[in-house]
C-alpha cells in the first residue's frame, strides 16, 4: 500500500480509496513557526480532509520536554513529531519513544539525512550561516574566520548552546571538524562574542546594528532580508552545519495510518514544494530553494557522527560552559 500514498501519484481513485481509510485525530508536535505548521497541515488536509490534525507548537526544547514529561506521566500524546535537529532524535530513540517507519518518499532524500534505523527522516535543510549587518559591514566576508579576527572584536553574536538545541548541534559539529575544533570557540571567546539565549536575539542584534556579525540559522536572515532589514547572509566557504528538522512517528501512536500518511506528505514533492514556498530550503532533491537560499546541492555541509554527538552533548555543553564561564 505504500506505493499508493506517494504524493506524486495523481490517480484520483486511488487517492479517494486512501482517504476513506485515513481519518481520525492526529496530534502533531512541532517546533516550526506556527504559521508554517498551519500551512503544512492545511495542505495535508487538502489531500486527507478526514484527518483532524491538532498542532502543538513550541521551541524544540519545550516540545521535547513536554514529550518526555508525558512519557513519564503515563503516555505520550503526540503522534507525529517534527523538531529541529537529528541529535535530539537520537536522544528520543535511546528513550525508545519512536516508531520505525521507512517512507517511500525517503528514497528521494539524501541518505545522510535519513536515520539508518528508519526512526526519523530530515524534512528540510536549515543551514547555520554567517549574518552581517549591511550598514556596518560593506566588505562581505566569505569565511567563518572573520569572527575570530580583529574586525569582529566585540562585534559578533551567537546563540547559546546551553539554551538552544540548534546551537548545541552546531557546537557538536564544529568542534568535531578539523578546521574549527575548540580553537574556533576559543577565538570567539577571545573576541568577546556576545551570547544570547536564542536565534531570535541574534537576528535582532545584527539587524539593529548592535552587532555586525552573527551566527544564525539561515531562514531567519532570509526572511528579514526579504522584508527589508539591513541584514544579509553568507555561506562561508568552509561549509555550514545544517539541521534538518527531522520528522518521526511516536511509538505509541494511536493513529498509525494517518501518522504515516502525514510523514509521507511532508516528504512528498508537494510537501517539499510547500516548504520551499514558505521559505525553507527543501531537503528533497530537485526542488528549488527559495530566493536567497542555497539548495542542498549547492551547499557544503559540515557534519559529524550523530550518535557520538548525542553521547557527547552534555559534556560538550559543559566544556562550552567552562570555556565561557571564567569571565
Amino acid at each position: 500500500s505504500n506505493s499508493e500514498t506517494t504524493g506524486s501519484n495523481n490517480n484520483e481513485e486511488n487517492e479517494n480509496n486512501e482517504q476513506a481509510n485515513i481519518e481520525g485525530d492526529l496530534s502533531f508536535y512541532t517546533s516550526q513557526p506556527d504559521e508554517d505548521a498551519q500551512k503544512l497541515v492545511d495542505a495535508f488536509n487538502g489531500v486527507y480532509p478526514d484527518v483532524n490534525v491538532e498542532i502543538f507548537r513550541s521551541g524544540t526544547e519545550e516540545v521535547v520536554s513536554k514529550l518526555l514529561a508525558e512519557n513519564q506521566a503515563g503516555e505520550v500524546q503526540a503522534d507525529v513529531l517534527l523538531v529541529a535537529d537529528a541529535v535530539t532524535y537520537e536522544n528520543l530513540k535511546s528513550e525508545d519513544l519512536l516508531l520505525p517507519y521507512k517512507s517511500e518518499e525517503a528514497s528521494e532524500i539524501p541518505e545522510a539525512f535519513v536515520d539508518k534505523d528508519e526512526m526519523y527522516t530530515g524534512t528540510k535543510i536549515m543551514a547555520t550561516v554567517l549574518a552581517v549587518n549591511t550598514e556596518k559591514v560593506t566588505d562581505l566576508p566569505d569565511s567563518w574566520s572573520v569572527l575570530t579576527s580583529e574586525e569582529a572584536k566585540e562585534q559578533s553574536v551567537m546563540p547559546s548552546p546551553l539554551y538552544s538545541g540548534a546551537a548545541a548541534y552546531n557546537l557538536g559539529v564544529l568542534t568535531r571538524n578539523d578546521e574549527f575544533k575548540w580553537d574556533f570557540y576559543n577565538g570567539l571567546k577571545a573576541n568577546d562574542v556576545m551570547i544570547t539565549e536564542g536565534n531570535g536575539a541574534v537576528q535582532q542584534a545584527v539587524a539593529a546594528g548592535e552587532k555586525s556579525y552573527g551566527i544564525i540559522v539561515d531562514y531567519l536572515v532570509a526572511r528579514a532580508k526579504a522584508e527589508g532589514s539591513p541584514i544579509d547572509l553568507i555561506y562561508p566557504n568552509e561549509g555550514v552545519p545544517v539541521i534538518t528538522e527531522p520528522i518521526a512517528i511516536t511509538k505509541n501512536t494511536k493513529n498509525e495510518a494517518a501518522a504515516k500518511a502525514f510523514v509521507d506528505f511532508v516528504l512528498s514533492e508537494e510537501g517539499q514544494q510547500l516548504a520551499a514556498e514558505i521559505g525553507y530550503t527543501p531537503i528533497r532533491k530537485g526542488i528549488d530553494a527559495p530566493e536567497g537560499l542555497k539548495t542542498i546541492e549547492e551547499l557544503k555541509v559540515l557534519d559529524a557522527d550523530l550518535s557520538e554527538m548525542y553521547k557527547a552533548r552534555e559534556s560538550d555543553k559543559e566544556q562550552f560552559s567552562n570555556l565561557f564561564g571564567d569571565h
Binding site: 526544547e61 513536554k66 546551553l162 539554551y163 536575539a201 535582532q204 539587524a207
Partner: protein
C-alpha cells in the same frame, strides 16, 4: 498573630457550612499540593529507586553554589529595589497633593503589561554605548559610563524596575487606610515627618509592603526573561535559567536534576514567605479603616512641581520609553531600519488585525482565561485569605506557603509538574483535561491564586474584627456580612489582587507554551510565535495592540467611575 483573632476566628470555620471547608481543603490539596509533591518525588527519583543521588550531585557541583549565590544576590537586590520604589511611589500617590494621580497610576502599571523582553530591550538600548544616557554622561565631566546592564547590577536593576508595580499596588491602598490620627499622634509627640514615617506609617503599612515585597520576591525568583536576556551574555546563571538548562539536557536524569534545583528554589520561596511572616508578626488591625483619599501632605507649589517632574521623568524612562520603542518597532517596515518616514508602515497592524485569525482567537482565549481565572480566584482566594487572617493556625499557614510555590517556580517547571499531575491524575485514567483548554485554566489558577490571596490578605489585615461583630449582632448572615460589610471594606485590596491576576494571566507565556493545544493559543503564545519565527515587527505590533487595548480598558473603567461618582454626587447631599 493576635490572640483575640485566634479565638474569634474559630467561629468562622464553625459556622461556614462544613462542605465548603472540605471543598476548599480538597481543592487546595488537589490543585496545589499534588504538583508540588510530584515535583519533590521526581527530585528523589533515580535509577535505583528513591534516593538522594541528585541532591548529592547537584550540591557537589560548584556551579550550583555559584548559581544559588547569584540568585540570592539578584532576588534580594531586586526585591529591595521593588520595595523601595513601590513604597515611594505609593507614598507619593497616597499622601501628597500631586496632580493627575490616575494617569500616573496607569503608567506605573505599564511595565507590567509590556512584555518583559521589550522592556529589557528598551533598557539595553537606553543604557547602551549609543544610548541617551551615554550621551548625557559624555557631556558631563569625569569619565562616567552608563551601567553595563549585562551584569548582576543590570539584572537587579531591570528586575527591580519590572516588579515594583506589585509593591505599589498592594501598598497604596494600605497607606490610604492608615487612620491619619495615628500619624498625627506621632507628630504631636514631636517626631519629624521622616521618623513618623519610619516608626508609624511604615510598620502600619507592612501588610501591603510585605505582601507586595513577597510577590516581587517570588516573581524575581521565577523570572526567566530578564536573566536570560541580560545574564546569558554575561554568563550569569540564576536558578530559573539553570533549571531550564537542566531540563533541556539529555539523559534520564535531566528532569530529576531540574526537579532537584526546583526544590532548592522552592526553599527560597518558603524562606521568603517566612520572612514576610516575621514582618507581619506585630501588625495589627486598626479600629476603623476607610480609604482616605484626601492628601495628607500638602506640598508647596514649587515642591509639588519638583516631585511631579521627577516622578514623570522616572515613568517616562521606565514605562513610556519601552512603550514607544515597542510602538516604533512595530511601525517600521522591517526590523533594524531607521525610524524615518519612508520606512514607516502599518502593514504589521493590518496583518494582525485583518489577516491573522490566530491573533484574534488569542485575544478571545486569553480574555476568557483571564476573566474566568480572575473571577474564580476572587472567591477562592478571598476565602482562603479570610481563613488565613482570622485563624492563623499552622495548617492554614502551610496552605499559604504551598499556594505561593507555584508562582515562584519557573513556568517550565510548573508546566511539567502540571503534566505529571493532570495527564493521568489517577494512574491509568486520562480524564482529557490535559490536552484541552481546561489545563490552562487549572494551571493559571494554580500559578496566580497567590496574587489574589495577597491582595485580599492585605486588605483583611486592616479590617478590625469588630466590624464583623457589629454586623453579626445586627443579625446579618455570613452572606450579608460579606456582601455589605467585608467586601466593600476590602474592595480596594481585593481588586488589586484581581487586577494582578487578570493582567498576568492575560499575557502569560511560559506555562502556556508547554500546555496549550490547538485552538487554545493565548496572547503570550502568539507574540512568542511571531518572535520565534523572526517576525519581531509583528510581535511588537501585536504587543502594542494589547497594551493599547489595556489602556482603553483603563480609560473605560475610569470614565465609568467618573460617571458613577457624578451620579452619586447628584443624588447625595454633598456639593
Amino acid at each position: 498573630m493576635a490572640r483575640s483573632a485566634t479565638n474569634t476566628g474559630n467561629n468562622v470555620l464553625k459556622y461556614s457550612p462544613s462542605f465548603l471547608k472540605a471543598l476548599v481543603f480538597f481543592l487546595v490539596i488537589l490543585v496545589f499540593f499534588i504538583p508540588v509533591v510530584r515535583l519533590i518525588i521526581l527530585s528523589f527519583n533515580s535509577e535505583n529507586g528513591l534516593s538522594l543521588d541528585h541532591y548529592y550531585e547537584v550540591l557537589h557541583n560548584p556551579v550550583t553554589w555559584k548559581t544559588i549565590y547569584n540568585t540570592f544576590i539578584i532576588v534580594t537586590g531586586a526585591t529591595l529595589i521593588s520595595v523601595l520604589l513601590g513604597l515611594l511611589t505609593a507614598w507619593i500617590v497616597a499622601y501628597t497633593n500631586i496632580k493627575h494621580k490616575k494617569l500616573l497610576q496607569v503608567f506605573i502599571f505599564l511595565p507590567f503589561v509590556i512584555p518583559s523582553y521589550i522592556t529589557t530591550l528598551a533598557w539595553t538600548q537606553f543604557m547602551g554605548i549609543n544610548g541617551p544616557i551615554a550621551k548625557i554622561l559624555n557631556i558631563l565631566p569625569g569619565n562616567l559610563e552608563p551601567i553595563n546592564l549585562y551584569s548582576l547590577t543590570g539584572i537587579i536593576l531591570v528586575m527591580g524596575l519590572s516588579h515594583y508595580p506589585l509593591v505599589y499596588l498592594l501598598t497604596v491602598g494600605v497607606l490610604r487606610k492608615i487612620p491619619r490620627e495615628l500619624v498625627m499622634a506621632a507628630n504631636v509627640s514631636g517626631s519629624s515627618k521622616f521618623t513618623s514615617f519610619r516608626k508609624v506609617t511604615m510598620p502600619l503599612a507592612l501588610p501591603g509592603i510585605a505582601s507586595g515585597g513577597l510577590l516581587a520576591f517570588l516573581a524575581s525568583l521565577d523570572n526567566f526573561g530578564i536573566p536570560a536576556f541580560l545574564g546569558i551574555p554575561a554568563n550569569i546563571r540564576v536558578l530559573s535559567t539553570y533549571i531550564y538548562e537542566q531540563i533541556i539536557g539529555f539523559g534520564p536524569s535531566a528532569f530529576a536534576k531540574g526537579a532537584t534545583l526546583s526544590v532548592i528554589l522552592g526553599f527560597f520561596a518558603i524562606i521568603g514567605t517566612l520572612i514576610q511572616w516575621l514582618f507581619l508578626r506585630r501588625s495589627k488591625q486598626f479600629e476603623t479603616s476607610r480609604e482616605d483619599k484626601e492628601p495628607r501632605v500638602i506640598l508647596s507649589k514649587k515642591r509639588r512641581l519638583i516631585i511631579e517632574g521627577v516622578l514623570w521623568i522616572f515613568l517616562i524612562v521606565t514605562s513610556i520609553v519601552p512603550l514607544l520603542s515597542m510602538a516604533s518597532t512595530s511601525l517600521i517596515r522591517a526590523y533594524g531600519l531607521d525610524f524615518t518616514l519612508q520606512n514607516l508602515s502599518f502593514k504589521h497592524y493590518e496583518f494582525i488585525l485583518f489577516s491573522s485569525s490566530k491573533a484574534q482567537d488569542a485575544i478571545q482565549n486569553s480574555l476568557q482565561l483571564a476573566l474566568v481565572v480572575t473571577f474564580i480566584g476572587i472567591f477562592v482566594g478571598t476565602f482562603i485569605a479570610y481563613i488565613r487572617v482570622r485563624k492563623p493556625s499552622l495548617f492554614n499557614k502551610t496552605i499559604e506557603v504551598i499556594i505561593g510555590i507555584p508562582y515562584a517556580l519557573p513556568g517550565t517547571v510548573l508546566a511539567l509538574a502540571m503534566i505529571f499531575t493532570w495527564l493521568e491524575p489517577i494512574p491509568g485514567w486520562n480524564p482529557g483535561i490535559y490536552g484541552s483548554i481546561l489545563i490552562l485554566y487549572i494551571a493559571y489558577f494554580t500559578r496566580f491564586l497567590i496574587l489574589q490571596i495577597r491582595g485580599s490578605v492585605t486588605s483583611l489585615l486592616q479590617i478590625d474584627v469588630s466590624m464583623e461583630h457589629a454586623a453579626r449582632t445586627s443579625g446579618a448572615t455570613p452572606y450579608h456580612k460579606w456582601r455589605k460589610i467585608l467586601i466593600p471594606l476590602i474592595l480596594p485590596g481585593l481588586l488589586s489582587g484581581a487586577f494582578l491576576v487578570f493582567l498576568t494571566a492575560l499575557t502569560e507565556l511560559t506555562v502556556s507554551s508547554l500546555l496549550w493545544s490547538s485552538g487554545s493559543e493565548t496572547i503570550g503564545l502568539v507574540i512568542y510565535n511571531f518572535e520565534q519565527a523572526g517576525y519581531t515587527t509583528n510581535s511588537t505590533a501585536f504587543s502594542t495592540i494589547i497594551v493599547l487595548l489595556i489602556l482603553i480598558g483603563f480609560s473605560v473603567i475610569y470614565l465609568l467611575q467618573k460617571l458613577w461618582e457624578r451620579k452619586v454626587l447628584q443624588n447625595g447631599y454633598r456639593d
